[in-house]
Amino acid sequence: MTWKYVCSATDVPKNTLKQFDADGIMLVVANYGGRFRAFPPVCPHMEEPLEESGIIANCVLTCSKHLWSWDLGTLSMLGETEKPLKTYDVKEEEGKLFALIDKELVYEFENSDGDDDDFFK
């Protein structure tokens, strides 16, 4: 586990999300009312890039595609949301943001595996 530099705290304006490459790990930093969260760059529902489709209001992150949402303060799931948001710990030192990264956090997505070469046979 190491703290990796992500960005300057001023890089992410209040109530916005921005995607960064932290030493090879892609993540999104969310500024919710002046506090920060860092998490994988896609929505755990259907891989939607949250930098583009995430909305932050009243400390709640909502993916605008299918309205899954999380309270960024408590990380509780809201509404129809079915999966928790995975997060990296974040610290701010001298105006710089660092994320505690062991390995990349990823979600399992439904994947229709299996050979379908015999579809018509």
């Binding site: 929505c43 379908d116 070469d117 018509f120």
Partner: protein, 419 residues
């Protein structure tokens, strides 16, 4: 010898049956509709080339016989084809000609096909993976399992072309259907991955069969000054026009003298794998696809019939994927100088078929169009067209020489034995 009265003009020529066709098969709306149903919905059609969807999640859309089609490359690199129609309310799912699903659509997500109408989503195997507010509206009466896309038979073959058949149970596999028409070129087309470097399409006021006829007969080289000065010699006239099962033909090669044409240089420097320079092969497949390999460049025409007197022709030029920039530039130059929109020959061919289109407008009087030349199955023999119309008559159950009569088998053209 003499001009003809109306009655004489309409009489059959003094040729054997099968050596002419009735012009109504180019002009009649009812026959046209039957062709879509009886032929185009049951034969193998190359819809694009695999290099047009080079990366996982790339797609290409097209249509066969008015049915919209989408071809995708899955994360497993398999190319699959589907009807481009949402099972929910019949919306066209993807309306772009090509692109990538790596990027999300406004109402969908990355790596899925999305119907923008109600945000239903499908994966690259055609499975439905998302129904918006599924439980609220359908409870358990209809689930994602019930509403996948219609999968179509699809194969990548003969130089990486993507072939689709709307019939789940075609009369023959693609391999058997092609009947060795690609035989002489197979090694050349399959040695290296090919890549499309040229694409244009034209909507032409003529019948699709007239375009294919022009690709099947070389007698009209009298229209092409270029072909006369670079070709006409003993080897040219000795080329074989060979017929294969299922209505296909292959025209054999000879050495073209490109430097005989003013402004052109020899093209000896660049060829295709396993092929000496300056060769010229042609493969014409029923019901309207043409593969034309002139030494350094491969051209492919695909016809999409729109009406009895309207056809969309898609023209592709291909080289080798591994071409150096210099080789690619040479191939493009060679391709465009003959076949590009401002090329030496293409516009002349279009003058020919639009002239025929002008004389076969819907409602025009039935006439005879002659296909009666016999020259020992060489280049100016019209056996290619006779062979094609025999196949056409079989699929349509109408004689091309008189479409009011049902098909009766009369072999007019000797077919090459399968290997």
């Amino acid at each position: 010898m003499v001009a003809k009265t109306h009655e004489q003009w309409l009489a059959n020529p003094p040729l054997a049956s099968g050596e002419w066709i009735d012009s109504r098969i180019y002009s009649d709306q009812g026959i046209f509709e039957e062709e879509l149903d009886k032929i185009f919905k049951h034969t193998w059609i190359p819809v694009c080339h695999e290099s047009e969807l080079a990366k996982p999640y790339d797609f290409r859309t097209t249509s066969i016989a008015r049915e919209p089609i989408i071809v995708t490359r899955g994360p497993d690199n398999v190319v699959r084809a589907f009807l481009n129609v949402c099972p929910h309310r019949g919306m066209l799912i993807e309306r772009r000609p090509s692109g990538s699903f790596m990027e999300a659509q406004p109402s969908g997500n990355p790596k899925r096909m999305t119907c923008m109408f109600h945000a239903w989503q499908f994966d690259m195997k055609g499975n439905c993976v998302y129904i918006s507010r599924e439980k609220e509206g359908f409870q358990d009466r209809l689930t994602k399992e019930d509403v996948g896309l219609r999968r179509l038979r699809c194969e990548v073959k003969f130089g990486g072309f993507v072939w689709v058949n709307l019939d789940d149970n075609p009369v023959a596999s693609l391999e058997d259907w092609a009947a060795d028409a690609f035989g002489a070129l197979r090694k050349t087309l399959d040695a290296e991955p090919l890549e499309v470097f040229h694409y244009h399409k034209a909507i032409v006021s003529t019948n699709y069969k007239l375009w294919h006829d022009t690709n099947c007969e070389f007698y009209h080289d009298f229209m092409h000054y270029h072909n006369r000065v670079t070709g006409f010699n003993d080897a040219y006239f000795a080329r074989k026009n060979e017929a294969f099962n299922h209505g296909h033909i292959q025209v054999g090669t000879f050495e073209v003298n490109y430097d005989q044409y003013e402004g052109f240089e020899s093209r000896a420097g660049l060829s295709f794998p396993h092929l000496p320079p300056n060769q010229w092969y042609m493969v014409d497949l029923f019901p309207g696809m043409n593969f034309n390999l002139r030494g350094s460049a491969l051209r492919c025409d695909i016809v999409t019939p729109i009406g009895p007197n309207k056809v969309m022709i898609e023209f592709r030029g291909l080289g080798l994927k591994k071409d150096t920039p210099e080789e690619r530039e040479t191939r493009i130059n060679h391709h465009n100088s003959i076949w590009g929109p401002f090329g030496r020959n293409l516009h002349e061919d279009l003058i020919g078929v639009t002239g025929q289109g002008s004389t076969t407008l819907p409602g025009s009087e039935s006439r005879r169009v002659l296909h009666g030349r016999h020259e020992n199955q060489t280049i100016h023999d019209e056996n290619g067209m006779r062979h094609y119309y025999e196949e056409w008559s079989r699929w349509m159950n109408r004689m091309a020489s008189d479409p009011s009569k049902p098909f009766t088998a009369e072999r007019h053209v000797e077919v090459a034995a399968a290997e």
